[in-house]
């Protein structure tokens, strides 16, 4: 029997599989069809300080090898959420990770403190990278200074594991990752969706009510693998890799690139059994190669060869 367990900050999980925020509800929605006990952790939909109605419809559009979404952080606000929703999460047979979003440093700290105080919540994911809400034109995760500020403020409110979700919509994700680490993040979720847009050529209107959206699915997988690879070389804290994972092969790419765990989002929309199937197949993959622990392969992508075909004096 191989060991798939993983430790993310203080969070010890039997399986290295998360479900992406906003993609698996609170787990309950899929419970009639899957065995939630075979998931490492369900990451809940993001909650904000105040209630949000979310974006106008349409909120989803299928695109080649992926989809665009612009839900817009629809949620009842932290007070309602604590009073009505959080209690139910104790019934889940897997760990439940709360997700916090906001529009100011103070928002994040306030919501994070309240949510993290609840026993039903095993850890907090700080969603500083939602592409579908405006914050003076950019998200916190697009600015190293804002990232540092918001992570430091959230860190001060809780000792629970803090996972900071980064945006791919940046020039240098490694520098943002370093800021999050020095500000006290226990782990990094890499990556959120890639900004995108689709236009209906009959009506000339954007196909999303929000005009722009976040691209997910296999279309962004190579972007995500590279982001994990770059972040893994920049920080020492664990990475939860995500972006277009549908199969065990996809998951292994992320582990080899440097992710200690993975998260499945859009893959669940094709088949909600993807997280369980990956666990089953990872066991088989490692057993076949006599590798006792999944953590033995983290970051082991073999990139160490030199390019033998270079001109003399070429430094590339």
């Amino acid at each position: 029997m191989v060991d798939l367990s993983v430790t993310i900050g203080k969070l010890k999980l039997p399986y290295p599989t998360f479900t992406g925020s906003g993609c698996y509800g609170s787990g309950e929605e899929f419970a009639p069809f899957v065995d939630l006990a075979r998931i490492g952790a369900v990451v809940l939909k993001s909650v904000t300080r105040l209630p949000r109605l979310g974006n106008p419809t349409p909120r989803l559009v299928h695109t080649p090898a992926g989809m665009l979404n612009a839900i817009g952080l629809q949620n009842p606000g932290i007070e309602w959420y604590l009073d009505h929703d959080v209690r139910k999460f104790a019934e889940r047979p897997c760990a439940v990770v709360g997700s916090v979003a906001g529009f100011s440093v103070d928002d994040y700290a306030y919501t994070c403190e309240k949510l993290a105080a609840r026993d039903e919540i095993a850890a907090i994911e700080l969603n500083i990278s939602c592409p579908n809400v405006a914050h003076e034109g950019e998200t916190f995760a697009c600015d190293p200074n804002l990232t540092a500020k918001v992570v430091r403020a959230a860190r001060a409110t809780t000792d629970k594991t803090l996972i900071v979700k980064l945006s791919p919509n940046v020039t240098d994700i490694a520098s943002i990752a370093r800021e999050a680490e020095s500000a006290g993040a226990d782990a990094l979720a890499v990556i959120n969706t890639v900004r995108g847009m689709a236009i209906d050529v009959e009506t000339w209107k954007p196909r999303l009510g929000n005009v722009t959206g976040g691209l997910s699915g296999p279309a962004i997988r190579p972007i995500a693998v590279l982001a994990v690879y770059e972040v893994a070389r920049a920080v020492t804290i664990p990475i939860v890799g995500q972006g277009g994972i549908e199969t065990t092969t996809d998951a292994l790419e992320f582990f080899l690139a440097g992710a200690s765990a993975i998260s499945i989002g859009t893959g669940n929309f094709t088949d909600p059994r993807v997280p369980m199937r990956i666990v089953d197949e990872l066991e088989a993959y490692l057993e076949k190669r006599n590798i006792p622990r999944l953590q033995n392969i983290i970051g082991k992508a073999n990139v160490g060869f030199a390019n033998p075909y270079q001109f003399e004096g070429d430094e590339g």
Partner: protein, 249 residues
């Protein structure tokens, strides 16, 4: 294409208007939401036109092939004590209305099927509805069969006023059904179409705006929270069937 499959457990719990998320055999992102056409004994079926990548792929299924469905999902139609039911189907919407037609017939109601399509070749399965004891009235956009025009013209001009309207089809048709239902003062249940991601209420991608004042389905934000006059319901979870007067159209 009509694909029947062996699924006795599914048949037991399927009600009229339920839908299925069909996992594509390979490749495409996201499962496909399809109405459950038949559910009887040990056999259920789905009915679809091979128009997109996913449905074309499903069209390659051959006898003996296996595929995955997540079903039954959604709320379904409610026939209640209606004695004269008008069912309005547009295009592939026909796939969701056989079960309610059967249920209404079993309850002894008169059932008229108002069935519209672009052209006569796309009017599929009408003999089946006639076999079930429905009166079938058709309309085509190109006049190749039945009324030359919209199916809702037929509904508006029908001599006997039904006491319940059930409809499934493209959104412009459903809007027209809602208008006719309101004019003729007949309650109407509309099965809405939308792009789904999860299909089980987990992602809030397929919401429809309802009027807070008339919303019967559970909706967001909860009543205790102050909000706008518009509330959202998930088409996959609280729907796909809504009363016409609930919708903010």
């Amino acid at each position: 294409m009509l694909v029947g499959f062996h699924a006795p457990e599914l048949v037991r719990v399927t009600r009229p208007g339920h839908f299925a998320m069909v996992v594509p055999p390979s490749g495409e992102v996201a499962a496909t939401a399809l109405g459950i056409y038949e559910a009887h004994g040990e056999r259920a079926s789905i009915l679809f036109f091979e128009v997109g990548k996913r449905t074309r792929e499903l069209g390659t299924l051959r006898i003996g092939d296996k595929f995955d469905v997540m079903a039954p999902l959604g709320n379904g139609f409610t026939i209640g004590g209606a004695r004269d039911v008008a069912i309005v189907a547009g295009g592939v919407g026909i796939a969701s209305v056989l079960l309610p037609a059967q249920a209404a017939r079993s309850a002894g109601a008169r059932v008229r099927l108002f069935y519209g399509a672009r052209t006569s070749g796309l009017l599929v399965e009408r003999e089946r509805f006639a076999y079930e004891g429905c009166e079938v009235l058709v309309a085509t956009d190109d006049g190749s069969d039945g009324h030359h025009g919209y199916v809702t013209d037929l509904l508006a001009n029908a001599s006997d006023k039904p006491d319940l309207i059930l409809a499934c089809g493209p959104t412009p048709m459903l809007r027209a059904v809602a208008r006719v239902a309101s004019e003729r003062d007949v309650p109407a249940q509309l099965s809405l179409e939308e792009t789904f991601a999860c299909g089980v209420g987990g992602c809030w991608g397929c919401v429809v705006p309802l009027l807070r004042s008339s919303a019967q389905a559970p909706s967001f934000p909860p009543a205790e929270l102050q909000g706008s006059d518009v509330v959202y319901a998930r088409i996959c979870k609280e729907g796909p069937v809504f009363w016409a007067h609930e919708l903010r159209w």
